[in-house]
Symmetry: C2
Subunit: 141 residues, 2 copies
């Protein structure tokens, strides 16, 4: 997979919304069915991470909690909350720019568990792409 084009759109959204955390979900045919920034501050809601918002948006659009076959693309590796939401949604294809360790090194507090550790139960089903336009994502911080 090559997700540079989608990541560029996420980086633009991050600049516009003043957050390094943005996420999109593609349907199996490549259509964007959700595009969301982190809204933790805006919504005063600790659960309002970009991935959670995108999963909710995609499910609302489809009126279906099952997003199997979709592809989630996010600027930063999903935290354990978002990794688990991916599990529950049925999404098994995930791309990101910066890893949790790289985000933590930039001074943003993280839970120190990688997505692969949270989703060890389904490691055989997961398709993961890491480091997409990592330097450009880093510039959002």
């Amino acid at each position: 997979m090559n997700t540079d084009k989608q990541m560029r759109r996420l980086i633009e959204l991050g600049r516009r919304e003043d957050t390094p955390y943005t996420c999109m979900i593609l349907a199996a045919d490549g259509e964007i069915i959700a595009l969301a920034p982190n809204r933790v501050k805006k919504d005063a809601d600790a659960t309002s991470h970009a991935e959670i918002n995108a999963i909710r948006e995609a499910s609302a659009r489809r009126n279906n909690k099952d997003l199997s076959g979709c592809h989630l693309i996010t600027t930063c590796e999903p935290c354990p909350m978002c990794a688990s939401a991916i599990f529950w949604s049925g999404i098994r294809k995930v791309s990101w720019g910066l890893s949790i360790d790289e985000i933590a090194a930039l001074g943003h507090r993280q839970i120190s568990l990688r997505m692969k550790d949270v989703l060890a139960d389904i490691s055989a089903e997961l398709q993961v792409e890491e480091g997409v336009l990592a330097e450009e994502v880093k510039a959002l911080f």
Copy 2:
């Protein structure tokens, strides 16, 4: 802590809403500031677990993402999504009835990570109460 009374209220809500998963959040003074069932099917949203719903409700009520000092009580041990939401919300006091292993043994699919494993980074700050009215919670399944 003795949370039998609160757990009874959660069990009643579970019966009424036809779900074994219900959650409440108490403010530091004991006031109930959120009370929510799992609404995954109803909302067609994989993220609509009882704990996530309760955290969102409590934050909306207070217009504050920070729920430090609050106590989360839930029928079933928080899954890694909800455990991480607890982390991000600042809640450090958690009570539940059945453990993840007990829920899994009842045939409900789970991510096989205990809350203590997800929240190992803050284990020293966590207050956990397990097994509250476990048999009565089990009867909801």
